[in-house]
Symmetry: C2
Subunit: 402 residues, 2 copies
């Protein structure tokens, strides 16, 4: 069986309509309010930030998923205000927006899934959104252009929209998966949220979707590290309309890799669109005892300011990587560690390996490069995606008020 290719394009699954408008939250006047309707409803699976500070929409989402037993009719997203650290007023405002959308679509409010991204701690302007709901709902279309405008309306300081899709056949039927996201980190002050929405016409129950989503997130978004901060609003939502007439259980072997592939494509788009990012790094951890150990080492390396600033300067400074492995908490024997930049080995058994400085500097000057760390502990490997830390990043995140 062939794995379906992932494309950076819009392929629309059946059963979904998209819309966007300007509610007036963003000072720029750009679109800031967006909707996806599943005409016949959809089975939903979702994952949220692990941050204990959780924005109002996430609290409402959890409640709605529980009360609707994982059936959703609409997704509604605003950009420009995170509705976080806003207390009861924020919850009330979020619920009022859901009610307004439900009234227009003639469904239950708990079938509406709200999302917000933007500034933390600013009162949530529910009225502006409620006033814009009729326009938003009436503009919905099951067309690629509408999906494109949706992808743009959820952007904050992203410089480009982020989309990925995959499609495969099952007999005479066809299953489509379309993903869109915004974010994250390293972008704009207080607007570090990652929002990911995945739409498919496969037929599935929420209980079937949830473990499949968890696995796809594990090998994609959970392997991205930009600046080590975890947003208060991070959300990944998967909706399955069932309109293809193809049951997930009959195509799980095709759907799972398509889902992982779309998630990985979106994850890489997020890393490469970080403002201030000059180098995207494919970080391969090899010879780990298990997945947790590979993650632990990757996290220490990709959280290290010293490692990331060296990458910004295309500096083959493997000593900082070795030091990060050493303090990662993994029970690594340093004298068994090998480090490679692309095909160039720079550290062997924990000591300097002879290499051509100029050649490796040139290799590390590319916009995307590979770093490989062999731990010599076991047989588990994993690839993670991270980036450099540049002076531009600091400027963007420090100087926005002054």
């Amino acid at each position: 069986m062939k794995t379906a290719p992932v494309v950076a394009d819009i392929l629309l699954p059946q059963g979904f309509a998209f819309s966007s408008t300007t509610a007036g939250i963003k000072v720029s006047g750009s679109p800031d309010f967006a909707l996806v309707e599943a005409f016949q409803g959809a089975a939903a699976a979702a994952m949220f930030t692990t941050n204990r500070v959780m924005a109002a929409p996430l609290i409402v989402d959890r409640d709605h998923l529980k009360r609707s037993r994982g059936r959703m009719r609409a997704l509604v997203v605003n950009s420009g205000n995170a509705n976080c650290a806003t207390g009861k007023h924020g919850i009330d405002g979020c619920q009022a927006v859901c009610r307004a959308v439900a009234d227009e679509l003639v469904c239950d409010p708990e079938e509406v899934f709200p999302s917000s991204t933007g500034v933390i701690g600013v009162p949530f302007p529910a009225e502006k959104l409620i006033n814009a709901v009729p326009t938003l709902v009436s503009a919905r279309r099951a067309e690629p252009d509408a999906a494109r405008h949706f992808a743009r309306a959820i952007m904050t300081t992203d410089t480009r929209m982020k989309i990925a899709a995959s499609r495969f056949k099952r007999g005479k039927s066809e299953v489509t998966l379309f993903g869109v996201c915004k974010g994250a980190g390293m972008i704009h002050p207080r607007l570090a949220t990652m929002l990911v929405y995945l739409f498919s016409d496969v037929e599935a129950t929420p209980a079937e979707l949830q473990p499949m989503l968890a696995e796809a997130v594990r090998v994609s978004f959970n392997r991205v590290n930009i600046d080590g901060d975890t947003s208060t609003n991070d959300t990944v939502l998967l909706l399955a309309s069932g309109e293809s007439g193809v049951k997930l259980s009959t195509v799980a072997a095709q759907f799972a890799p398509a889902l992982a592939g779309v998630c990985q494509a979106l994850a890489k788009q997020i890393v490469s669109d970080g403002e201030g990012v000059r180098h995207v790094v494919n970080l391969h951890i090899e010879g780990a005892r298990d997945d947790a150990e590979a993650s632990q080492v990757a996290k220490a390396i990709s959280n290290s300011a010293l490692v990331k600033t060296a990458w910004a300067g295309s500096d083959p400074n493997w000593g900082r990587i070795l030091a990060a492995v050493g303090y990662s908490g993994a029970a690594v024997d340093p004298s068994k560690v090998d480090i490679f930049f692309g095909r160039h080995q720079v550290c062997g058994k924990g000591m300097a390996a002879p290499f051509n400085e100029a050649e490796v500097h040139t290799y590390l000057s590319q916009p995307v490069f590979d770093v490989r760390v062999r731990l010599g502990r076991g047989k588990v490997s994993g690839t993670f995606w991270t980036c450099d830390l540049t002076a531009e990043y600091v400027r963007i995140n420090a100087d926005y008020r002054t």
Copy 2:
């Protein structure tokens, strides 16, 4: 009983002589080799990096402390080469230097405590050091100027020497404690090591000194976070010559706060001397359940690139601090968290508190300011020292080769 004041000056304890010379490791030609002799030997306590990648001198130190049962005759330090990731050759070279020093001083090699700071992964130039040992040893003097030159010779890219001292009376006798250190982080590529040496003429056993040192380090160096990286060479050494004739057991209530005070003074000097640092932050965590929880929250805040870049811009961005508290791993209820910048409350019960932006921006424009986070969990408080993350830091750490 009054706590003895801590001064940023040289007060020499009895029983120690200092020396420094140029062995030719540093390209600049600056002094790079330094010695302290305890004429009659000294009881020693030491703490080392928790990094699993441990430099050769630290491996030798542990062995020497064990074999000498904690009695040291000399401390010998080189700057310019970390002797880390240098394999067996590095261990052999380190031991050869100790033997050369022991030969000159007529003592056992295991009574010599070696330290190195500098570049990782470059072969250790033992011969250069061995050739300089006779000059180094013959230049030793029990004089403030010799101690001052010692403090300078162990510097790498520190911009100023770091010293602190305290002295108190016991009857007709006097106990002196003198500390000197170099480092750390946020300074120069690969030269992020913190080395701390504490000298006293109190009379004590190694077993008495060790827990007292551990407690002083806990409330000082372990509460400093510059860039979250842990060096491979970090070392804290306390030597007690006994020459004052005053037993530690009789002055523990005076010695313990003097030791903590000297360590805190040195820790603050380290933070404020980081290149690229524009703001030193006194981070007060209050209302924690226990010490571990206070540390966990302080670590998340002071590791956050988003928090530290906001501080660089004097931006009263409390949302990033609240988010860091949320992902710290502590079981905090966000709706009980208060945040203050100096006397200005900016967040109350997890929500925005009204404050004057211009006033708070001015407050955060000072070179040193206070951030206070109340967790509402318990009664434990702790103060930590950290700093901002500036574009200058990135430049220093990224561009040194290009």
